[in-house]
C-alpha cells in the first residue's frame, strides 16, 4: 500500500448490494474537498478500461480527495436490483444510494461525478437532481448532432466508396441518425421511457444541462478525436443554444486519444486535466459560491 492513500472495499446501499472501493488520502486534507465518484463505462466493472479508474482514484487520493469507484447494479460485482426499475432509472437510483452511503460513512456532503461515455450520460442525468453534486466530469458524453456535425460527417465519408454503397443499400449510419433525430424531434414532448441510446436526441438532455447550470454545478467536458458523438470543438455549445454555460463549463480536447484513452500517455494527460480543473473550478472559494438551498428533485 502506498503511503499516500488507503483503499477499502465496501458494500453500499440499503441492500448492501453495490460493490465499491473507497480510496482515501492517508493524511486527511486540511480543508474539506469534494469526494470524487467514478461511474462505470458500459458493462466494464469499476476498474475501468486499462485500469484507468484505479490509477485516477489513487492520483485524486494523493491530492487529498476521497474517491469512490463502484459498480452499478447488475454490472461488475454488484447484484441486480429487485425493484423493476428501468435500466436508466436503476443506475440513477444506484448513484443516489452510493452517495447516501458515502455521506453517512465518511461524512462527505459534496461530490463530483466522473464518467466516460454512458458514465458521462448518467452523471448528466443525475447531477442536477441532487444538491450534493457540485461538479461533473464528462468524457465523450452524448451531445446532439448539429448541422455542422452532419456537414463534417458527410465530408469525412464522401470519398469512401463503401459509404456510398451503404447509402444505396439503405444501411447508411447517416440516414439512420437523421431518421432517429426526426423521430425524436417529433416526440419532443414525451416523458418517461428514457434510454441512453436515444439520449442525444432527447430534449430532456438540454433540460438536464440547463438545470445543472442553474444549480451552480461546474462541468468539465472532455472529448477525444474519435468521439462517436462530436466532430468539431464547439459542437457542445452549438448543440445546446438555449443553455448558457458561461464559465461553468470547460471544454478539453484530446486529439491524439481514442475513445477509451487506451494509451497510458493519454490517460496521464486526462488525469492531469481533470485534477487541474477540480483544483481550480472546485477549490474552496468556488464551493462557497454554490447555492446551498437547492431543492432535491
Amino acid at each position: 500500500m502506498s503511503g499516500k492513500f488507503t483503499e477499502q472495499a465496501l458494500l453500499l446501499g440499503p441492500r448492501q448490494s453495490l460493490v465499491g472501493i473507497v480510496t482515501r488520502p492517508s493524511t486527511p486534507a486540511p480543508t474539506a474537498k469534494p469526494a470524487i465518484v467514478i461511474l462505470n463505462t458500459g458493462v466494464v466493472h469499476r476498474v475501468g478500461h486499462h485500469r484507468m479508474y484505479v490509477t485516477m482514484a489513487r492520483a485524486f487520493a494523493g491530492a487529498g480527495h476521497t474517491v469512490l469507484r463502484f459498480d452499478f447494479s447488475g454490472i461488475g460485482d454488484s447484484d441486480r436490483r429487485t425493484d423493476r426499475l428501468s435500466p436508466v432509472n436503476a443506475c440513477l437510483a444506484d448513484i443516489k444510494e452510493a452517495l447516501d452511503s458515502l455521506e453517512k460513512s465518511h461524512r462527505i456532503s459534496q461530490f463530483v461525478l466522473v464518467g466516460l461515455c454512458s458514465g458521462a450520460d448518467y452523471a448528466v442525468l443525475y447531477g442536477h437532481t441532487d444538491p450534493r453534486v457540485v461538479g461533473l466530469v464528462l468524457m465523450d458524453p452524448s451531445i446532439p448532432p448539429t448541422a455542422r456535425y452532419y456537414f463534417h460527417y458527410v465530408a469525412q465519408r464522401l470519398s469512401r466508396l463503401r459509404n456510398w454503397i451503404s447509402v444505396v443499400t439503405g444501411r447508411s449510419g447517416l440516414i439512420r441518425l437523421l431518421l432517429t433525430q426526426f423521430f425524436y424531434g417529433a416526440r419532443a414532448s414525451r416523458t418517461g421511457g428514457l434510454t441512453l441510446e436515444s439520449l442525444q436526441f432527447d430534449p430532456y438532455l438540454a433540460q438536464c444541462y440547463r438545470d445543472s447550470v442553474s444549480r451552480g454545478i461546474r462541468m468539465l467536458a472532455a472529448f477525444t478525436s474519435i468521439s462517436p458523438r462530436q466532430t468539431y470543438r464547439q459542437q457542445m455549445l452549438d448543440a445546446f443554444p438555449d443553455v448558457h454555460f458561461n464559465d461553468q463549463l470547460k471544454l478539453e480536447f484530446f486529439p491524439e486519444s481514442d475513445h477509451l484513452f487506451s494509451a497510458q500517455k493519454d490517460r496521464s494527460k486526462l488525469s492531469r486535466a481533470i485534477m487541474d480543473w477540480v483544483g481550480s473550478a472546485l477549490g474552496a472559494g468556488t464551493l462557497a459560491q454554490v447555492p446551498k438551498s437547492r431543492a432535491f428533485n
Binding site: 500500500m1 502506498s2 483503499e7 472495499a9 465496501l10 458494500l11 460493490v19 472501493i21 458493462v43 466494464v44 466493472h45 469499476r46 476498474v47 478500461h49 486499462h50 485500469r51 484505479v54 490509477t55 461488475g76 460485482d77 447484484d79 477509451l260 487506451s262 494509451a263 497510458q264 500517455k265 490517460r267
Partner: protein, 253 residues
C-alpha cells in the same frame, strides 16, 4: 458475496468471496485466477458467473486480482510471474482459512490457468483439482500475439518495458512469459486436471497425445466450442459462455 483484501500491507490483494450455498453437505473450496490485460476486463463477468455457480454447487469460492492488476495494490511495473504465483498461494491460504478446508480446487482462465497450474505443481498436497480454461499453450506465442495485436509503445523511464494495448509489460514480465509451456503441465499433471479448450488453435494440435507418465489418467483435455469471454467484441462482450461454465462445474462434481 464479500469483497475483501488479502496479503500484506505492502502487497494487498483484492478478492471477492462467494460463500457456499446452504445446501452444501461438506466444505469445499475453490480459487479462481484471472487472465491478464484486456482479457481480464472482458472476462470479469464470466468469471463472476462461474464463481456464483460454484458457490451454488457447494464451493466456498474466492476470485482475486493479481498484484498490479484490477483492484489490488501496486501497478504493472512491479509485477512478475513469481509474485503472481505467490498471490495465488495467498488466495489459497485465504480460502482454506475461511472455508475450513485442507485442500482446494484451483481454476484459471488464459494466463491465470498457467499460474494456477504452476501453483498446483508446487503445492500438490493442497490441491483437489486443477481446471485450466483455455490456458496459454506457449508463452512465446502468447507474447508474440500480444505484441502483434496492438502497436507496442515505449514506456517512459523503463527502456526494457513496452506498453501493449494500454498495459505495461516490463522486461522481467516478458522474460517470465516466454518460459510458459503448457506441455510441461500436461506431461505431469499435478492433480486431477481438466484442460478445457473452447477456442481451438493450431497450437492445440497434438496436446492430447502428449505422452503422460503412468498414473496420469486423471488428466482430461476437452474441446468445447463456446464464446471466448476474454475477447472484447461489439457482438459478444458481456456474453457468458454458459456451456463452458456448466462443464467446469460438472467436471468438478
Amino acid at each position: 458475496m464479500n469483497p475483501l483484501y488479502l496479503g500484506t500491507n505492502e502487497r494487498r490483494i483484492f478478492g471477492i468471496y462467494e460463500p457456499a450455498g446452504p445446501q452444501a453437505n461438506r466444505a469445499r473450496a475453490a480459487v479462481l485466477c484471472n487472465p491478464w490485460g484486456s482479457e481480464y476486463v472482458y472476462a470479469h463477468r464470466s468469471l463472476r458467473q462461474l464463481a456464483i455457480k460454484l458457490a451454488a454447487c457447494g464451493y466456498h469460492t474466492l476470485r482475486f486480482d493479481f498484484f498490479g492488476t484490477g483492484d489490488s495494490g501496486g501497478d504493472m511495473s512491479e509485477a512478475d510471474l513469481a509474485g503472481w504465483e505467490a498471490d495465488a498461494v495467498s488466495a489459497i491460504e485465504g480460502i482454506k482459512d475461511i472455508a475450513g478446508t485442507a485442500r482446494v480446487a484451483v481454476i484459471g482462465l488464459r494466463l491465470g490457468a498457467n499460474i494456477a497450474a504452476a501453483v498446483a505443481a508446487r503445492f500438490a498436497d493442497q490441491i483437489d483439482a486443477l481446471v485450466m480454461w483455455d490456458p496459454i499453450v506457449s508463452g512465446e506465442d502468447y507474447l508474440h500475439a500480444l505484441l502483434a495485436a496492438s502497436r507496442p509503445m515505449s514506456v517512459a523511464g523503463d527502456p526494457d518495458a513496452v506498453e501493449v494495448d494500454g498495459f505495461v509489460l516490463t522486461g522481467t514480465m516478458m522474460r517470465d512469459l516466454k518460459t510458459i509451456e503448457l506441455r510441461d503441465v500436461i506431461a505431469a499433471p499435478p492433480s486431477r486436471t481438466l484442460a478445457l479448450i473452447t477456442e481451438r488453435l493450431a497450437s492445440h494440435d497434438g496436446l492430447d497425445v502428449v505422452v503422460t507418465p503412468p498414473g496420469s489418467k486423471r488428466l482430461s483435455i476437452e474441446f468445447l466450442p463456446a464464446p471466448c469471454p476474454w475477447v472484447g467484441s461489439v457482438t459478444t462482450s458481456g456474453a457468458v459462455p454458459v456451456r463452458a461454465i456448466q462443464r467446469i462445474t460438472e467436471w468438478l462434481e
